[in-house]
Symmetry: C2
Subunit: 151 residues, 2 copies
DNA sequence: TACCAACGTTGGCGCAGCCAACGAAAGCGA
DNA sequence: TCGCTTTCGTTGGCTGCGCCAACGTTGGTA
């Protein structure tokens, strides 16, 4: 971000900004990795959630991934168009759609896991294993603290 | 983000996602604080940079803050409209505009510093002072590592 | 039988972070 | 001095993420 000139002290002193910079970096790396197979972060989140829960409604998936219901519609559309996911009405509750991973979806997910693993490693490259654990711990504590708390 | 249901393990295991979640939280808190006085993050970054460098060109400010030149135009426009910043052509280099903080801008900046200080504290609330230093150190190392490196 | 809650869907919004292109101006090498 | 390249401000545009409001449909509940 800063070819040559120095970032103002005041900005460097902001943990929020630091976190944001790190997130930008991380997202850039991850997005580039996923883009190799034409996938965005929402796609992966959905596939990962689905693989873990088994077939579920869109609302449930949204709750688990943090994806808004309206965005969920588009994401499921995308994945269904690619045959990675299947959407059928729930006969037992006709408000719901049941979304499930196809076998192609599962294959894709496995590939994404690999790509993401490498991306994580690239992101955390300068840190030792212990440092990484510490960072994860600290960030987890922060986000957990704010989760239920509506800030 | 997660009222009730659990976040999938695979997602929880992603440091990049964790960082992003933390950044979302931090940005939410910061944005809300700044919004109290109708300011966005770009505005603060610009004012902070300007206060530190003294009157400079927009390009220079962009380099220091990481704000794109095109966005810089709009940001300077905003701040100039509010009388927080002044933009005059540089007589010694007629390609440049020299941007400088007004006294009203300096007053605003002082207020923003206060608001932001409180926001940082709210963001890092669950962490001890030592933890905060550690987090800042780790994030700094990660972002520094990736800065010059074009990922 | 009302009323309320949940669901999927549509449409929209704002901000951040980008990129491409342009004319004007400055710098620089031959 | 003349081209070439670089820098600067500006315009216009784009994508993705994270949101919110509203609506009709359906289920659960008083």
């Amino acid at each position: 971000m800063n070819p040559g000139e120095a970032t103002p002290r005041r900005l460097r002193a902001l943990p929020s900004r630091l976190t944001n910079q790190a997130a930008l970096t991380a997202n850039r790396i991850v997005d580039k990795a996923l883009a190799q197979v034409g996938v965005r972060r929402y796609h992966y989140s959905l596939l990962a959630a689905l693989d873990e829960t088994g077939p579920t409604s869109q609302a449930e998936l949204g709750r688990r991934t943090g994806i808004d219901r309206s965005d969920m519609v588009a994401t499921v559309n995308d994945l269904a168009d690619r045959g990675l996911v299947q959407r059928v009405p729930d006969p037992e509750d006709r408000r719901r759609n049941i979304v499930s991973v196809t076998s192609a979806g599962r294959r894709q997910l496995a590939q994404l896991d690999e790509l993401l693993g490498a991306a994580q490693d690239a992101y955390l490259a300068p840190l030792s294993a212990a440092d990484r654990r510490t960072l994860i711990d600290l960030l987890t504590r922060v986000t957990d603290y704010h989760r239920d708390k509506q800030d």
